[in-house]
Symmetry: C2
Subunit: 438 residues, 2 copies
């Protein structure tokens, strides 16, 4: 008996296939492919010994062990939340007594991705507007598409989001009566995924000025996605937007253990304005009534034993070399290509490569096919863009130095150059500009 | 500056506060309270040594360790999914070669709660209908309320859901043209939360006959929540509804490691009709792109080393004694109360107590206040009911023998009887039937 098909929900119908999942699975399935695509972290430096020792110590105390293996609360392990708040204060150089964020405003989630999802679910209906950077994090765009909201974007330069353009956008929305539809501004303000760009110190102040000015009319919420913040390889840390949100009214700060510790524990966290907390936890209660309690106990112990800081310091050294390798390889392979340019991130795991105008990088293009033939994978830049008037840049790509080793990074960029040449050649041949003898 | 309030999404506004979260937190905060309320598992038998040994072994192999601490796939660890499918085949006595469910139709989730949530999100819009048992699992009702669907219910007796009534309900929905609105039937068919009742062998066949008959017109999906299945203390296991779904068209089977192993690992799983899998994973990708990979590796190793089966066999012995203790205590304390009756579950962790007509058990009632004064907590039965014509039973309660020890179970039921007497006395006094001298 063949029964009828399923009528899926409107939300399900709106939700696009995630490009990232596809590329992550490609990388997992084809071990000979050099993946500069997926956002995997460096495998070689995963904290195997730290976690192993931590779990042994943790489970040696029967009382603690039982608490860790039992259900926790939906909001998350209290000690971990306390430690995370202290951590944020330390990073920002803020006196905890002067700060308006308390442990009651810290929530633990299943990776920071769940926070992004829950927050969208908490705030957004189809008639709302969300402002993101152009380009922005692909998976978050997919979440937003599931909600049906209108996405407006603000371009970036070397100093991150161009705040003047944000100001103009908000002004024009205010003039058209649409300011009240603006529910959220999303920024990955440290070593952005996908570009590697960071919101500069000056821009942070300007950004907060704009947000607070418009908030006098209509309270604006900002999701500050700081997933990569602790993976900084040069220069000094910059204070978070959260630290400038003196009354805890506008900024939702989102952090994660996936990048600076281990994605396998899938634990993220957020510091939120007080009035968002209870409604968010209510939704999370329906999702899972709390993320893995054992993972939270492990991370808290990794934290309290100082292993976390030791590990992050080590990671910075590991990734710095990989970042340098990628920038060197790009200089070697693409330095002489007119119109090719790339970002030089001070942290994170991504470099954004722009190829000469007309070089298409997307799914089904000669370049992507040639790249896979040569054995290298990247993320097409167009996944990070929203179409404006039917158009978006199609000559960019995200390159990750997260998981690939240094020799693989060199070899991967070399293969990419070969693929670039071959696809260019094919293009030129197609135009009949090259004799068949070549 | 005091800024304006937030305009939350329609979904957030529809989502009620979860009664379970409140009671779980009460129990965590008041250690002297005997909680017969929350669905915590037995703390004393949590598999501390098993997990500790497992993690040591797992992380001793650097290659495996790195895979466990890295990102996994959204669908879940493949070996674990294979083992779970074999497990289901073994439980059901099904020849894998004869079965139409493959490893591609197994999905791992953050506890079975996440599966319940994702499935609702996948299928339901506000105009749809979901059929549940009366009473049913409180938290799932809360999820459904968040979607805005219409909830229709089917009563239960000692053999579980009354399938004749389901048949009549579907007929009447068909006649009114509403059959196409029926997106899901939800059943907890083993030792139900909250009643402890199990769908009998005969009823299972009748249920599948009804589902398949109506599916010739309009394909019906059933969520078979088998969370408590493996915690059986008497008699033989019954085949799942899934095992009778020969073409893998109608039944979504949901299982979990939380009850038979450890809630702290927050890992559940489902076997689904093939056409639901990709759209479900797409949504899950936006939620978290995969549940904790380390938890999945741990559970797979607990599985492959045989520790899982050893542990479940041990748990059955532990819980059987606790179930017996609760039934004994109820007989001692409430055996002579006319109109008081309770279920005698063959597994799980819940007993459903019905008090004499007129004895209100809900929030704010004299009985619940007296119970907290005496130091015992239960879940009011009305949380499990949906109002029909403005009415629902209000004289029932869910009693859990999950976390309380045997002496606590006896003492808790004794306190409950004291609270029952005091609240009854107060009621009689209020009516002026008792002299002030008493």
């Amino acid at each position: 008996m063949n029964q009828t098909g399923i009528r899926f929900s409107k939300k399900s119908q709106r939700t696009p296939e995630s490009p990232i999942s596809y590329f992550m699975e490609q990388a997992l399935r084809n071990p000979h492919l050099i993946s500069l695509a997926a956002g995997m972290v460096d495998s070689g430096s995963l904290p195997v010994e730290h976690i192993s020792a931590t779990v042994s110590e943790l489970l040696a105390d029967p009382k603690v062990a039982r608490a860790a293996l039992q259900y926790g609360t939906t909001q998350g392990h209290r000690k971990l939340r306390e430690n995370l708040l202290t951590h944020l204060h330390n990073l920002d150089g803020v006196d905890p007594r002067q700060n308006h964020v308390s442990v009651e405003e810290v929530v633990v989630t299943t990776g920071s991705q769940q926070l992004l999802y829950l927050l969208s679910e908490l705030l957004l209906d189809a008639e709302d507007i969300v402002i993101t950077e152009a380009p922005s994090y692909f998976v978050y765009h997919s979440v937003l598409q599931g909600t049906g909201v209108e996405i407006r974007t603000v371009p970036m330069d070397e100093e991150g989001m161009i705040v003047e353009t944000l100001d103009e956008l908000l002004k024009s929305l205010d003039e058209s009566g649409d300011l009240r539809r603006v529910k959220l501004i999303y920024t990955v303000d440290y070593f952005q995924n996908p570009t590697g760009l960071t919101l500069s110190s000056e821009r942070r102040k300007a950004f907060m000025e704009v947000v607070q000015r418009f908030s006098a009319k209509q309270r604006l919420l900002v999701l500050e996605d700081a997933a990569y913040r602790e993976l900084r390889y040069d220069g000094e840390d910059l204070p978070s937007l959260k630290s400038m949100d003196a009354n805890n009214q506008n900024i939702i700060y989102s952090g994660t253990f996936s990048k600076p510790c281990s994605p396998g524990l899938k634990t993220g966290y957020a510091m939120l304005p007080a009035d968002l907390v209870e409604p968010l936890i209510r939704l999370k209660g329906n999702h899972d009534f709390g993320s893995s309690n054992l993972a939270q106990y492990i991370l808290n112990h990794v934290w309290e034993t100082g292993r976390y800081h030791t590990h992050v310091a080590h990671l910075r050294d590991v990734y710095r070399l990989k970042r340098d390798a990628m920038l060197d390889a790009l200089q070697t392979e693409f330095g002489e290509i007119s119109g090719a340019e790339w970002t030089s991130p001070h942290g994170g795991m991504f470099v954004w490569l722009t190829l000469p105008e007309g070089t298409l990088t997307g799914t089904g293009t000669p370049l992507l096919r040639a790249a896979i033939d040569e054995g290298v994978l990247y993320i097409p830049g167009e996944f990070g863009h929203i179409e404006i008037d039917g158009k978006k840049p199609r000559n960019e790509m995200r390159l990750s130095f997260g998981d690939a080793t240094i020799p693989m990074i060199h070899e991967g960029i070399r293969r990419l150059r070969v693929a670039f040449d071959k696809s260019n050649l094919a293009r030129i041949e197609k135009r009949g500009l090259v004799s068949s003898a070549i």
